[in-house]
Amino acid sequence: MPEPYTLSHATIETAAGPAEPMVLNMGPQHPSTHGVLRVILELDGEIVLKAKPVIGYLHTGIEKSCESKTYSQCITLTDRIDYLAPLSNNLGFCLAAEKLIGIDVPKRAQYIRVLLTELTRVSSHLVWLGTHAIDLGAMSVFLYCFREREEIMKIYEYVSGQRMMTSYFRIGGLALEPPPGWLDKVKRVIDAMPGHIDEYEDLLTENRIWIGRTKGIGMLSAENAIAIGASGPLLRASGVAYDVRKAFPYSSYDEFDFNVQTANGCDCYARYQVRVAEMRESLKIIRQAMDRIPAQGPFRAELPGIIPPSREEMKTSIEGLIYHFKIFTEGFAPPAGEVYQAIESPRGELGVFMASDGSPRPYRVKFRTPSFINLQSLPMLCEGRLIADVVACIGTTDIVLGEVDR
């Protein structure tokens, strides 16, 4: 029997309650979540009332694995954290270990590191731009970006022998002497890059649809950005000129002339502008680094017992052989203590917290990954907006799920 209807205030109010929101499960299998991200959306029609990111689908326990490996062995794990910017992760880990041990890396290695990490930044931003564009329907930009990224991958391969899991940076310097002629290859790529960036900008920057899809979408004020711990382009697009490379220079970044790119839009479009400008800025740094890299010189610090001896030394001197054997069997033991080393990865502040108890294996390694923290801002960005904007917002935070879940 239907309930009798009485005309009273209370019944009207309960009867006129809002319809139940629809719960939509976006991901973990969804083309625009950039991996296995799951976002639980509560919808009113197409409007997002609540967004809750659910992560952990790619949790591989890298931090735990590090505890049972020697310091040098851990480097290969760092590639897998942010698989779009492996060299940045290598650098973060190596810098932290070097700080813990107290090694001065030769300038040549530092410059090469700068060059390669900036190249990584370009390549990572290219992937971001491409995927962000295809999320919003611009298909060609995606393929253009990957075409250029391919060239950068070829440089990785030429230098380190690997396209993605490079592990090229080692504690104290580099893994190998870079092959001859590699700078010419880099030059060829970065000479072509500005033209390519113009090409993307031609397709997007003044495109009305692109502006309509990104301007005013995913607003994140400077206060909110800081409060939520956002870093990298996400923070700089809100007008905060915080860049680890400038604030806490590492690896000789203080010797380079570059600007921190900021924008005041606080929206997806501002982040697009910042990232594109950063690509150009990175090219500038790469040019400077190419001029500075000395043709000759050590590519690794010399510290017996910690840095592996050169091949020649290992084969000719008994100490070298012993050190080599010791480093590769039991590793080396830095002093007990903790360090926190931050670098500016393409996604923001990548911090490596390393605690040593004086044994050859790190007692605890923690990667403060920018994606993990930046992803927290997602509800802030997209609540109250449309589903289509969720896609733009996920894209604009530039997350890498490997980095989020570690």
Binding site: P2, Y5, A15, A16, A19
Partner: protein, 104 residues
């Protein structure tokens, strides 16, 4: 019976049958939207009769009427469905038995 031509009466009978089925649907159905649809069915049946008569008398007035009926039906659907949506949001139900506020 000569089956090579179709007398207008056939159309009229069909129209009557459809109208009757519309009435039955109107009475039987409990869902507001389906009730609404049975009204449309009745309107359609009447339209058919109009067109058939227009044909029988070779006069276009019937067609004009059909035209107006269709237009009015469109207006009716717009308002009616808006009301249905409001109703559904407020009552969480489309059953006419639950929406009997206007019943005395």
């Amino acid at each position: 019976m000569n089956l090579s031509v179709v007398p207008v009466s056939y159309y009229l009978v069909l129209s009557a049958v459809l109208f009757g089925l519309g009435v039955i649907a109107f009475v039987f159905k409990r869902n507001i939207i389906t009730i609404f649809m049975s009204i449309e069915l009745m309107l359609n049946a009447v339209n058919l009769a109009f067109v058939a008569f227009a044909r029988a008398h070779n006069h276009l007035d019937g067609l004009v009427f059909v035209f107006f009926v269709i237009v009015v039906a469109a207006a009716e659907a717009a308002v009616g469905l808006a009301i249905v949506i409001m109703l559904a949001q407020n009552r969480q139900s489309l059953n006419v038995e639950r929406v009997n506020l206007l019943k005395f």
